[in-house]
Symmetry: C2
Subunit: 280 residues, 2 copies
Amino acid sequence: MDNKIILDGQKVSTHIREELKPRIEALKANGVVPSLVTILVGDDPSSATYVKMKGNACEKLGIKSQKIHLPKETTTEELLHTINELNNDTSVHGILLQHPVPSQIDERKAFEAIALEKDVDGVTSWGYGQTALGFGLYPSCTPAAILNIIDFYNIQLQGKHAVVVGRSPILGKPVSALLLNRNATVTTCHSYTNNLPELIKQADIVVAAVGKPEFIKGDWLKEGAVVLDAGYNPGNVGDVEYSSCYEKASAITPVPGGVGPVTISMLLKHTVDAAERTLN
Amino acid sequence: MDNKIILDGQKVSTHIREELKPRIEALKANGVVPSLVTILVGDDPSSATYVKMKGNACEKLGIKSQKIHLPKETTTEELLHTINELNNDTSVHGILLQHPVPSQIDERKAFEAIALEKDVDGVTSWGYGQTALGFGLYPSCTPAAILNIIDFYNIQLQGKHAVVVGRSPILGKPVSALLLNRNATVTTCHSYTNNLPELIKQADIVVAAVGKPEFIKGDWLKEGAVVLDAGYNPGNVGDVEYSSCYEKASAITPVPGGVGPVTISMLLKHTVDAAERTLN
């Protein structure tokens, strides 16, 4: 008997988006159209694709989506000026600066300029700090997606050992914080970690957020581990070697169709949350 | 041959304070007297002792120390009013709200009201977020003290496995973040952790920040572990059982005379840092 669970991101995503529909209707009845602005700097083709996907997801649900496309030679000051205008525009509820920006721009400074109440992508240090201390409005979307998948499938976290591979500001660090706040014991690993397979072998829950294709192997896993793969690499593969990890895991996210779609749903949800907050 | 190292907080503390002296002189030559205001609400005797110790340490070094003592029935609004006045007072460089405050006060709201540039005790979520993302000005003082002790004794962190026991906003969480940013692999444990002795057995570095007297036992340690005890409990004991942990550790902080004095030195250093920033 195979009671292995494929953690179906499309299914979770559909559930979240269905719940948003009446909320968006109610907002519109109150004269508020939830609105997300995405800023794309330069011509990176995959960034352009991501921005387009996010825009389409918004439109489909009735969230207003506006794309601001700045030239690749934009300066930090110019980008800050754009962000400040959006901060002051009361018709805009969420601001997303698509990562990465061209190298001449101080990306951290640009992220930090986003008003906390419009930081629906969870990139500011203030938002991160609030999330880590347990009262953040908008955690980064991929970490939030991972928690939503865990909850949708009723996976218990309390007292479990979660091993997070990766420590980026919008993924490894905030997902570690969210898991810790849900009473998991959390180990955060990275490129300097010496004994990664040995640590992963202890994990009840593995979060792969390392950005290396098929990096995590099935024989590193404990039998029955839950595997959440936040990676998305060329060739449509995640950060875990799916076939071997599938064999060992009790539950696993596929790539594509796992964490990815839920991440976009989180962005939509946060934008609706932000629009609702303007009514209070 | 016993080459065990007692991590002498007094020695580290003296070193830090000696380095501050010429900086304080230079500030005064520029017409700036570094100034710390501590706010004590209510009559908790150990809080009063802590505030007095901090004040004395300031005065001894030539840092101006002012104590604001508010009655135990102070409301959140009244406390916020006091904090806002201090935020706006350009002669004040650092603000410390002594924890804990009486139960009718929203402590988190009060912490959050402290201006980031005066948050020398590292209690705001914004300061925490900046610290965790690697560019914070003033990490919480006890975590900063632990890192200073580690550096003073040339203990290597990169690639080491650090196990932090405790996850409070001003201790367990920020020390985990600081260790992670220094390329340690970090496991954060807490009251829901199931197999604490087994996890500690793997640690190259153990940080005890749990607030339970003599909780961590020597036979939990790996031979040669480095033990940093941030606990201070009634009876002058830390969170580790010193005699048994001393036997197994390669280096250990005593209690008292370990992390404690360096914590106060961090507060002094941050206050001087903050005063210097007003000159730029």
